[in-house]
Symmetry: C2
Subunit: 418 residues, 2 copies
């Protein structure tokens, strides 16, 4: 069977499973999540054995130590996956809620019922724990899921997906609700992107290259996630001690994630006071600065920022710094170079704090806080399937609600339209 | 300049206009809507003159009378456009509302602010009034809009878009907020579909062919609208007089629209009583039936339905009829052949009414009412830009809210992440 035919068979089964899942009571979905968690714990040795095959192949292929670290599953990480599933059990199931019900003048009652999206396809890279995290979120929201992980994690993903499917079947739900694409052939991704008859949404999770490919090729609706070229703007009159704490936290608490800050913008009035101290503090943490000419006039020893730096998501201990002459210049810089992820102002000026919220175009806009809070747990959604940086459907961290849609439900007594 | 370069120039201007529109007070947007309405009334003679050019060219090209009717603008239709804009003035502006604000344990206040989408591109067919309706809706929701109408209406669309842009500039807003694609070359559509750097959403309004083309080619996110293969299922024990009224209304009140019924499903227990009367009633209105074998056993004189009929959106005085053995068969038929638009059950059984709402996958699911109510005005949204039949972002009639998105706004006091 061709890759395409095999995927269509999988997708048809997923669609059929989705019809069943859509009307399953919450208690049964929770039993399935518990069952997967239990199976993971019971199968830890087997999972580690399969994961070792991936690690060995990865080492042989010369993968970087960072990539090998992402690939690794150990007792602790398996327990984390199980714990994550049990946290999902505690989250409210949004499916079936009816919101905004209104009585129209003709007596029709028109409401909106929250319902699953249907079949989701998740396309991701090295980390095998996404297999379980994504399956759990989709299941709780009533969606079937087709998972396409990175080829370097194929053995780990196969065992994890098989465990999930088996556990789901144990509680009487269709095993086809969680399916892994079994081939590692890249053609499979292209096929998935075109399956408009079966898939309701594609969620790519990974680097800029993967996301670009999905957006360019997909015919199925996509939710774009992840790339974060985040800024912090320190306004004139800001509390500079607060600014220092926020910038340091946003850069150094976890530089490799999408909500870390990549460019610091500083108003010219506060730059001479803020930058020398901040530079010393960041240097201790191993952060290198790249500055605009006005920054370099204050900190001559740092590297010069090129135009390309303003576009860069470093995901590393590097921070670009630009001195600006005005609030407007800062906002314009952010709206020009940003990736619409997370943007912050440090200010004590009321009017500019409000203008920043209004004028900056991003998924999350902060006053006086670190950009690192853009996260499903931090925003109170519980677990998340990714952070949307597009504007349709969902923006920012995507939790269970964002894995559902609504349908209008209309309660009539025989009404006809004039 | 190439078509692509010209469109990029337009799109850049639209993006700049969108930045301004996003923060304009409601009162100013309302002044712009009033100004467009006034200009339309003052320019009626000129509009009719330009429209006559399109009508003459259309007649020369042998367009059908139905198409010529859709193309025509007269005093009444111009007044309707102006009235529509004034109704938009009365609708609540959703932009800037903050919903769901919550205080997190660390004191951060996390809310969601409703904001415009940015730049919308509307791709539509013959009816020139869409130029004004879409421009008005986008403007009120704070979006810039690029309009691409049908080539047969190019003279009408040019004068209407020019009037809108002029009126917008009169109140001090950027004229670039409403722009028409000036060329009628089909290449322009392909270019628009790829402008991911400038356009936030594409909304195609038209027949199945246009919508398919947009979905297949677009890289910009699309909201799919319109195709409606709608069903009514008459359950065992239903009030057959009510069923007759609802089916007749849903088929004959306006057969050419997407919320008209196309297939009737009848439970076998009520088919012998319902169908003969209903057939006579529909025949008076000129409706032809196409029946399954069991329907033809009751009404031998009607045409036979082929498999293709179950897929058909007739948009005409034709109704496909199928007798089913069970509720489950009816739901399965709808979920197999339907286009996820509007689906109704006529029943007096409580449990099955609830199951229908849960199990039927469509934008609008009705109990005991005509499918013809799927409409922005009927659902209380005011004017609509189309009826979404996809699941992401918006489902069913799309009003002002659906032309916006949200961003997270976070009010901090210096919080950093542990």
């Amino acid at each position: 069977m061709s890759i395409k035919d095999a995927l269509i068979v999988q997708a048809k089964k997923a669609k059929e499973a989705a019809r069943i899942l859509a009307v399953v009571p919450t208690a049964v979905k929770n039993q399935a999540l518990e069952a997967i968690a239990g199976e993971l714990e019971n199968s830890a040795a087997q999972i580690i054995r399969e994961n070792n095959k991936d690690l060995e192949a990865g080492r042989a292929a010369g993968l970087s130590s960072a990539l090998l670290d992402r690939l690794e599953l150990n007792e602790k990480r398996i327990q984390d996956m199980a714990d994550g599933l049990r946290e999902l059990v505690r989250l409210k199931d949004p499916v079936g809620d009816i919101v905004e019900i209104q009585r129209r003048p003709n007596g029709l009652q028109v409401g909106k019922m929250r319902v699953p999206l249907g079949v989701a396809a998740i396309i991701y890279e090295a980390r095998p724990n996404v297999t379980i995290d994504a399956a759990g979120l989709c299941l709780k929201a009533g969606n079937a899921v087709i998972l396409r992980g990175g080829s370097e994690a194929i053995n780990s993903n196969r065992i994890l997906a098989a465990i999930a499917a088996k556990a789901i079947a144990q509680v009487g739900l269709p095993a086809d609700a969680v399916q892994l694409v079994q081939t590692i052939d890249r053609e499979a991704v292209s096929v998935l992107l075109g399956l408009t008859d079966y898939l309701d949404v594609l969620i790519p999770r990974g680097g800029a290259g993967l996301i670009r490919r999905v957006i360019n090729e997909a015919k199925v609706p996509v939710i774009q996630t992840g790339v974060g070229n985040c800024h912090i703007y320190v306004d004139q009159g800001a509390d500079l001690a607060m600014a220092g704490r926020i910038v340091t936290n946003a850069k150094t608490s976890r530089p490799g994630v999408c909500n870390a800050v990549e460019t610091l913008l500083v108003h010219e009035e506060v730059a001479p006071e803020l930058l020398p101290d901040l530079y010393n503090r960041l240097k201790e943490d191993g952060v290198q600065l790249r500055g605009c000419p006005r920054t370099k006039a204050i900190l001559p020893e740092i590297a010069a920022a090129e135009e390309a730096d303003w576009y860069e998501e470093y995901l590393d201990y590097i921070l670009a710094v630009k001195v600006v002459s005005s609030f407007d210049e800062a906002v314009r810089h952010i709206n020009t170079y940003g990736t619409k992820h997370s943007e912050a102002i440090v200010t004590n000026d009321y009017a500019r704090s409000q203008r920043f919220l209004q004028e900056v175009d991003a998924a999350a806009v902060y006053i006086n806080a670190s950009t690192r809070f853009t996260d499903g747990n931090q925003f109170g959604l519980g677990a998340e399937i990714g952070i949307s940086t597009q504007k349709l459907h969902a923006r920012g961290p995507m939790g269970l609600n964002e894995l559902t849609t609504v349908k209008y439900v209309i309660f009539g007594q025989g009404q006809i339209r004039e």
